[in-house]
Symmetry: C2
Subunit: 343 residues, 2 copies
DNA sequence: GTGAAAGCGCTAACAT
DNA sequence: ATGTTAGCGCTTTCAC
């Protein structure tokens, strides 16, 4: 069962033509007579010929390969980005190299090195923006286009695709306001998070837009990231019982907030009751649409549209490959509001 | 800024040696004098020479590339598998081609085709076991080793790495029994799920092992997969109030069960009270360790060890690449019990 | 319309 | 210890 490698020569022999002819038939470039073409096609079928990518690439063509550097594919957002990327590339008959820079990975620069060695046509840097400039320089030196895909940020001079966190927060907050809420808090996220900063901007802007006050003491940071959120939310609600809605930074925070609401003796969901103290607290949270676990809860969710970010990054990269001299652009992907029927 | 490609010839010229010498230095194979070696190394540094993988591969070496076929990288289990795979491969200076077969993907066979065209040294088929035989045949025809990584199953004649679902269920169930529970139900999962079948086996076996009865009516299937689990669990608990513990099929089910318990007027957590009706219901659930959202709940979790499955699959594949004639093996990866302090 | 031949960058005999 | 050289499989002028 040792597979013998079928080359273009074998096909040429079998069809009784020259390798040139076979090459031309395969690529459909030269004009070859229908008969010859047919004979060659048949020989290809019979022999099961598969062109050798390495040889093609070596000869001077593009490799058809795109490299992806991601910190950790298990992060739901970047998993979605990866999936979107892969979708688009596969549709283009391209393939995707996956390298992880974080956790046990080799660091984004080494990952880039590794990708360049493989002769990729382009690189997508997902997250890892700290090392963006290094990777950028390395890619530029090799003449390989680079596009970033991230949750947030503002690296100048690079192509960057990211979700519109500000809009996401506006959608979430606006939805709550529309439901009648006037006392809304933002809970969760690390103070150093850029994503959070952008969202807070949208949160704040929306409040002001509706003539509602922005109260800094109603913005709660989560320090250990996913710990004790329930207690914090409970404390917040006990101190400020007038709060009727929470905007939650991520899935973990949302769940923590959920229990915090319950522990505070309130219930979750629904619209605000005009002018009255409401026992209910409405929740709106950010996260990927795919957060199955929370799907059943009565809350409004805003997806960061990771998949779309991935798709767009792929598009942009393909553009850059076509036109390497193009000016860097920032693409912002609109989030998606998944409103839950008020109950 | 158009990068001129530095080849081995440039290095040879710059160092005043022949290409052979450079090649030997790079690969560390022939014995070359320290001085020459140093000169070559320096030339490499100065010029920024990066060996061209395509050329190496074309010449006859291995491509150093492994292909992965996965239905959907966003599935947490397979994301972990992917990560584990990537870790090991990167440590071996290899890279990973990612193709998605499901969702918008091209189907596992087409994915395999695409990978083979790229000249991969081996393929990992993650999930998609339905198409296993086809892919296997295709890979065999190309003389490329294939290893499967999956949640469950028993494909004969193929290398397969999977989590030990039975053991996982034994761990979860055993833990509950050790905590004093005698009335335990299994909730969630589709009836057609192989993973679930394996887990039920372990569940049942553990009950019998401890002399506890296995009651089929305490096994609840989730039809629409993630819907209405709370109601089902509530109904179960109301009908059989003697139940004090639940084994939950996945993260979504666990959360549903959590609310089901609350809705039934019980509380979640802790040990069984000897011989008494317990208002508390203990929960044990399966899932990846990374299910952040649930991390704060008082429940016992058993991880399917996806990352370890990925690592093992990589190991196995590397073995197969070394020894293509080896007999197929099934590797089973032990799950990990993450007990929660009883409260 | 089709073929002959020159490499792409690299490795591995085979010289020296 | 190093250099010469013949390809790996393919595309692409340039002939015919």
């Amino acid at each position: 069962m040792t597979a013998k490698k079928i080359t273009i020569n074998d096909v040429a022999d079998h069809a009784g033509v020259s390798v040139t002819t076979v090459s031309l038939v395969v690529s459909g470039k030269g004009r070859i007579s229908p008969q010859t073409s047919a004979r060659v096609q048949q020989a290809i079928q019979v022999l099961g010929y598969v062109p050798n990518r390495q040889a093609v690439t070596l000869r001077g063509g593009r490799s058809g390969v795109i490299g992806l550097i991601v910190r950790d594919v298990c992060d739901p957002f970047y998993a979605e980005v990866t999936a979107g990327l892969s979708e688009v590339l596969e549709a283009q008959a391209r393939v995707l190299f996956l390298t992880q820079s974080g956790r046990e990975g080799l660091g984004s620069l080494r990952a880039a090195e590794s990708l360049l060695k493989q002769g990729v046509d382009g690189i997508v840097l997902a997250g890892n923006l700290l090392h963006g400039p290094d990777v950028r320089q390395r890619a530029a030196a090799a003449g390989v286009p680079l596009v970033c895909a991230a949750r947030a940020n503002a690296l100048e001079g690079m192509d960057l695709v990211r979700p519109d966190n500000q809009l996401a927060a506006r959608l979430a907050t606006g939805h709550l306001v529309t439901e009648g809420h006037k006392q809304i808090a933002y809970v969760g996220g690390a103070g150093s998070s850029l994503t959070r900063a952008e969202r807070l901007g949208g949160f704040c802007a929306t409040l002001l837009q509706y003539g509602l006050p922005f109260r800094p003491e109603w913005v709660v940071e989560s320090e250990a990231y996913r710990h004790g959120m329930a207690a914090k939310v409970e404390a917040l609600l006990r101190r400020y019982p007038q709060i009727t809605a929470l905007v939650c930074h991520d899935a973990a925070v949302t769940l923590g907030a959920y229990f915090g609401v319950l522990n505070a003796g309130r219930s979750v969901g629904g619209q605000a009751l005009e002018g009255l103290y409401s026992p209910q607290v409405a929740l709106a949270g950010f996260g990927e649409g795919a957060d199955d676990a929370l799907a059943e809860l009565p809350l409004t969710r805003v997806s960061a549209a990771g998949r779309e970010v991935g798709r767009s990054a792929a598009q942009r990269l393909l553009q850059r490959i076509e036109d390497p001299e193009a000016m860097p652009q920032q693409w912002v992907v609109a989030p998606e509001l998944i409103a839950h029927a008020p109950g």
